[in-house]
């Protein structure tokens, strides 16, 4: 018990030194198994987050909906900066992100997307800023992180078609997620169940990488743990660690 208090105070001090003291809104996933691995208890506003799929289009599609689900639960207008128009807005709506809230910026190139993101992030009161890029340099990510910290707006960089070994070393992002499609439950009728994703928390400032299998966003943008998987390995490990 004492040990954990010490650890906690140390973490708080490190956070203070790193300048990531929480004073912004946090949107939790609403699933304890996930939220407790995130030092801020969820996706924090005023910080940069990285989300990636894979070179498979279906994985990028899943990452898109994952993002839409998070943004659906923040308040305020969302700026979505794209390179070209391949995003299909009805799917965002199905994840709870209403089309009236999203303003698209078709910026054309990675550099322009990042410029547009930075411009947006200087503006307070936004519900979120998303930028879809192929690559981002460490300097650019630091600039975005600083801008986000200052305005308190959640920032998301979506890495398009990022290969499995695609490293983003030196990124200033607070969390890095990788979302990949996973086989869903077989219903036994000619219909499809709720989609399933492999959700990897590849990097988190002040925490350990984690790995979950979740069910995709519902109409309010909430993900869920599949009923038949809740008591499987990941959860068991945690229990042992807690014991």
């Amino acid at each position: 018990m004492q040990q954990s208090t010490v650890l906690q105070s140390l973490r708080a001090r490190i956070a203070q030194i790193e300048g990531s003291v929480q004073s912004h809104a946090v949107v939790p996933f609403g699933i304890d198994a996930i939220d407790r691995h995130l030092p801020s208890g969820g996706i924090a506003a005023g910080a940069l987050h990285e989300v990636a799929g894979s070179p498979e289009l279906a994985d990028d599609a899943a990452a898109t909906v994952f993002l839409a689900g998070i943004l659906a639960r923040f308040d305020g207008p969302v700026f979505w900066c794209l390179r070209w128009r391949d995003l299909f807005a009805p799917a965002l709506h199905l994840a709870g992100l209403h089309p009236d809230r999203v303003i698209f910026v078709e910026a054309g190139s990675d550099t322009n997307v990042l410029t547009a993101m930075e411009e947006c992030l200087r503006h307070e009161g936004l519900g979120g800023v998303v930028g879809e890029v192929k690559a981002i340099t460490s300097t650019a990510s630091k600039r975005l992180q600083l801008a986000a910290e200052k305005s308190g707006v959640p920032a998301f960089v979506m890495r398009r078609a990022l290969a499995a070994d695609g490293k983003s070393d030196g990124s200033a992002a607070v969390t890095r997620w990788r979302i990949q499609a996973s086989p869903s439950e077989k219903l036994g009728i000619p219909s499809l169940a709720r989609p399933r994703w492999q959700m990897q928390l590849e990097r988190v400032r002040g925490g350990e990488p984690q790995y979950w299998t979740v069910e995709g966003c519902d109409a309010q943008g909430r993900i869920a743990l599949p009923a038949d998987l809740v008591d499987r390995p990941a959860a068991q490990e945690d229990r042992q660690a807690a014991a």
Binding site: A58, P77, A89, D100, C120, G216
Partner: protein, 454 residues
Amino acid sequence: MTVTRARSLAPELILIDADPEDDLEGLRRLTLWAGTRYSPLVAPDPPNGIWLDITGCAHRFDGEGPLLKDILRRVSASGLSCQVAVADTAGCAHAVARHVPSGRPTIVEPGKARAALSILPIAALRIEPGVADELRRMGFDRVEQLIAAPRAPLVKRFGKQLYKRLDQALGQIPEPIEPIFPPSVPRVRRALLEPISTADAFAQVITDLAADIAHRLSVEGKGARRLDLFFERVDGQPQAIRIGTASPSRDAKHLAKLLCQRIEMIDPGMGVEAMSLVAPLIEPLGAGDLGQLITRRGKEPDLTALIDALANRFGQRRLYRLAPRASTMPERELGSVPPLSPAVSAGWDEDAPRPSRMIIPPEAVEVTAMLPDHPPAMFIWRGRRHRVAQADGPERLHGEWWREHGHEADAPYAVRDYFQVETTTGGRYWLFRLGDGERPVTGPMKWFIHGAFA
């Protein structure tokens, strides 16, 4: 022909003295009229022409063709005869309007200026008649010969003006028109003591000009939707930048910021000796409206400043919201609306599954499926084999046969059967089969991939 001879031929002839000044004044009036109707940037081109910069204006008339027809109709109705042409450059439009005797509006498609010019006679280039005559004597009849000829000897003989005109017409060097404005357009100007050429100095002058124009606008109860900033260079070559705002504004700081973003586009040359700021497009912005702005700021963020900054950097069309549109074809289910337009509130049908990433246009895939009703069991896309584990469908969508364009032009009665398939690795894709399997007119029974789901 002398007057005496003309009179001897037609005694009833009425004589009116030529009055170039009055003609010029008439041209000015016509220009100002065009300025209110077609484009804010208009300039008289004496003795008998008018420039209109219709960049971004044509959509109000549903395209350049209808705009030109409108000009032709209205000007003819007032008893004048006219020739109209639109092209990428002022020089090209000038040449085509005067040397293509079609009697109809002529539109030179973007990028076709060179092709359109090359067949025209040399005189189309707005060069002095003496030079044109001499060129003709040397064997130059058409512009294309001039384009092909080596430059140096001709420049030596005729001076730089000849090629300047050619390059202007081809769009290789800019030729800004010097617009005129009715007295009602707010306009402020600052002459500078010494020519300036640094970005900081420009920014300072812009701040001053923005404050000036904001004051003018507040006196009149107006807000600017568009601002043009003109730089008067020492060498007489004018430079201009234009910004637009999503809603009327007279916030000096905001306007100055938008203008300053564009400073890098200015080539100061030897220096700029005066700058003027014009608000060619203004809209009422009363005290009441301002009050609303203040109260609104408390509840939700005021996005106009941000939208303007982005729109001026990337272009207004690159900034949009997507709103539902009634259509049976999924790619047409959404339409862009301006970012600050009122909320649409309605969304899309929440029961219809729609992918989050579209493949536009749909790509052909090789599919193994049992006909006619079974979903695919396997498909090959971009050279990779995807085995289907589960599927849902079909969702049958009919083509919009009443449309004239798009794929309906070829196949008005197309039917698409959409299947949502999940591969063995869990990826979900949207495939469709063109054709209902009964009537060939609905499609050739080929398979396509149209998107990926979450």
